[in-house]
């Protein structure tokens, strides 16, 4: 009973409720929704689709969670997605052997290293030069799509390379490869942040950079690392997205993915003010967003109207999580309204 009470009181409660409600609504609408069948040795079904479509967003959102935990934000991930896809596809398209495994691995390597460098550039601007994260990453967000256009020459670069296709739409042991990649990286990050001191150090930098520096935490290195990681993850997401359609679209690849990722993080209960973060919350947030997108399609509403539903869910979840409403809902013993104010002054 106490466990249930803790769960109801936790920030993850409302997002989980939103996810359950969406899944229930879909199941009522079409009972086939929850079916998962095996066909040609591959798993198929709406739930699998949600997981696979979530993969790029999950990667970006995990990087974003860490960045937001250090009280930062990364607006450039969408541009990095475009650049990474553009580099990989251009390399494969211009190589002598587009179908070769070595070519694909080289392309993936180049794209990954480049996105790591772009992320590190953001980290440099934020941690060394000391520019506010939102504007430091806005630079790359604005210029990045231009750079991606430069790489592809303004064209949509299409390629034909079966090994590259595996990243986005292949299967391994009946599970989509994209889900395995993002799930694996999610698990690694979760392990590193929750089973080592790294997570606590990141949170301490987010809560009070000054104090954590004085306490001997290498704030600068940590900030640099999280931005580099966010860049790398965005790059991998870019590979998935371009591999899914076998083309690099500098204009539209990863468009607004930074906003979706930030939404997922916030729905998951991580505050944009930095500090405590929840990777599980982010996972739920990503699933809510993707399920919502699929629900809209299933309900037969034009997909273009999806933003409207997103807005409704975001506003609802944020209002339910807001201090005013939480104070109303919570028992009188707790005084939640005081807590955030104190934290703000302390910071």
């Amino acid at each position: 009973m106490t466990a249930w009470k803790t769960f109801v009181g936790s920030k993850i409660f409302w997002p989980v409720m939103a996810l359950v409600a969406l899944l229930a609504a879909n199941t009522i609408k079409t009972t086939r929704f929850v079916n998962i069948r095996v066909q040609d040795g591959h798993l198929f079904g709406a739930l699998i689709d949600i997981l696979r479509n979530s993969s790029p967003l999950l990667l970006v959102a995990v990087g974003m969670t860490l960045v937001i935990a250090t009280r930062g934000i990364d607006l450039s991930v969408g541009a990095v997605v475009a650049i990474s896809g553009a580099v990989a596809c251009s390399y494969i398209a211009s190589s002598a052997d587009p179908t070769g495994v070595v070519t694909v691995l080289t392309a993936v390597g180049i794209a990954a290293v480049l996105s790591l460098v772009l992320g590190a550039w953001n980290g440099f601007l934020v941690s060394v030069v000391g520019i506010q994260p939102i504007i430091a990453t806005l630079v790359l967000m604005t210029a990045g799509r231009g750079i991606a256009m430069l790489i592809t020459g303004g064209q949509i670069t299409t390629i034909n390379s079966p090994p590259y296709k595996i990243i986005g739409s292949g299967y391994w042991l009946a599970v989509p490869v994209a889900v395995l990649i993002s799930g694996g990286l999610f698990a690694i990050v979760a392990f590193l942040t929750r089973r080592t001191a790294l997570g606590m150090l990141i949170e301490s930098v987010g809560i009070n950079p000054q104090a954590s520096r004085l306490a001997g935490v290498q704030a600068r290195t940590i900030i640099w690392t999280v931005y580099a990681l966010a860049g790398l993850f965005a790059g991998i997401a870019g590979l998935m997205i371009s591999s899914n359609v076998m083309a690099a679209d500098a204009n539209n690849a990863g468009l607004f993915i930074e906003l979706d990722a930030i939404l997922a993080v916030v729905i998951g209960g991580t505050s944009l003010a930095g500090g405590k973060f929840s990777l599980a919350g982010t996972l739920v947030g990503v699933l809510v967003i993707q399920t919502l997108t699929l629900t809209v399609t299933i309900l037969g509403v034009p997909p273009a109207v999806t933003p409207l539903f997103k807005a409704v869910v975001v506003i609802a979840v944020c209002i339910m999580q807001s201090p005013v409403v939480r104070a109303r809902i919570a028992s009188r013993r707790r005084v939640p309204v005081i807590a955030p104010v104190a934290a703000k002054v302390g910071a």
């Binding site: 806005l138 630079v139 967000m141 210029a143 990045g144 500098a250 944009l272 034009p302 933003p307 506003i315």
Partner: protein, 348 residues
């Protein structure tokens, strides 16, 4: 052409009293005791003049009244957006919804005109749509303590979604008032012209300049940006002001949407994608700090003109692809924030 003349000269005289060619700017500023707050704005002005000089040297007919007039006319909606954004950013907030609000007010106007509504009803209505969304954002930010970034992001999705509900396709506008507004050119002198949109934009700039710099409300906006806790302790009307800045930004977005509708003579759900980032970039280039508490309306206007001039130069050059615009804006943004950072570091 009185009003547009006032803009550059006000800053030009300020620059002139420094006796400042570009290289000696900081040294001169220190010796003449120019307020450090003005340095980023001066930086924007210097860049603008430099770009005019480079353009004038490279291309024929670049330094003509027509180019400058077009700069104002083609960017009138962005000027209005940037001015509204300045209020929000000075309080330390941000408004990501303006691009979507531009699209929403445009498509609403177009579809209302299509069903035969008169202009004198439609125009105030579409501006009020912006104000109403701004009010919603303000309440979300203040009452529910949702971070401005997320609240305005939600408003952006809301407005964008509503656009698609109204119409998925572009709607042309044939209303005589809009046609008159978009085709009228008022000549000033030989080569200068101004359009009604330009006049509206300049009126908004003048009003915003007065409100932000010469009223009690304006001082409260700065006080909140400096330190919200202190502003509350000083007894300033923080709640009302915080909500109002979002209403102002929303209203400006509504006006901007109306101007953009006049400019394009149609309404389309996909207009204004990324326009909020242009507005934010203009505000930052104009010397407003994103942390709040410091910034100027005229700086933001200069920022818009700098962005517009990049576009003009690339058009004049003719050989550069359009994506160079984005790269240039990114580089310029970087230069400016590093510059601001250097100034802020020296102040400490």
């Amino acid at each position: 052409m009185t009003a547009p003349d006032v803009l550059p000269t006000a800053d030009a005289t300020r620059a002139a009293t420094d006796g400042s060619p570009r290289a000696r700017l900081t040294r001169a500023a220190r010796s003449v005791h120019v307020d450090r707050r003005f340095l980023p704005v001066l930086g924007a002005l210097v860049v603008l003049l430099l770009m005019f000089a480079v353009g004038g040297a490279r291309y024929e007919n670049f330094l003509s009244g027509r180019v400058v007039s077009n700069l104002f006319i083609n960017n009138s909606y962005l000027i209005v957006l940037a001015v509204g954004m300045t209020f929000v950013i000075v309080t330390g907030g941000i408004d990501l919804s303006v691009g979507a609000v531009v699209a929403l007010s445009g498509i609403t106007a177009a579809s209302l005109f299509q069903s035969g509504w008169p202009a004198f009803v439609v125009i105030p209505l579409v501006i009020l749509i912006g104000s109403a969304l701004g009010l919603v954002v303000g309440v979300m930010v203040h009452v529910f303590e949702i971070q401005p970034f997320i609240a305005t992001l939600a408003a952006m999705f809301l407005a964008r979604g509503l656009c698609y509900v109204i119409s998925l396709s572009s709607i042309p506008i044939t209303d005589p008032t809009i046609v008159w507004l978009s085709s009228t050119q008022i000549p000033i002198g030989d080569t200068w012209t101004i359009t009604p949109s330009g006049i509206i934009a300049l009126a908004v700039v003048a009003a915003a300049f007065y409100v932000l710099h010469y009223t009690r409300f304006g001082r409260t906006v700065y006080a909140i940006g400096g330190s919200e806790a202190s502003a509350v302790l000083m007894g300033l009307p923080v709640a009302r002001t915080k909500v109002l800045v979002y209403v102002i930004s929303g209203t400006c977005a509504g006006i901007g949407g109306f101007l953009f509708t006049v400019f394009s003579r149609s309404g389309y759900s996909l207009t204004g994608v990324g326009m909020e980032l242009d507005a934010i970039a203009a505000v930052v280039i104009g010397g407003t700090l994103l942390t709040g508490g410091s910034g100027f309306v005229l700086g933001s206007v200069l920022g818009v003109l700098v962005l517009g001039l990049i576009q003009t130069i690339i058009t004049f050059q003719g050989t550069l692809s359009s994506w160079w615009t984005k790269i240039f804006i990114g580089v310029l943004l970087l230069v400016f924030v590093v510059l601001q950072r250097a100034i802020a570091a020296r102040r400490r």
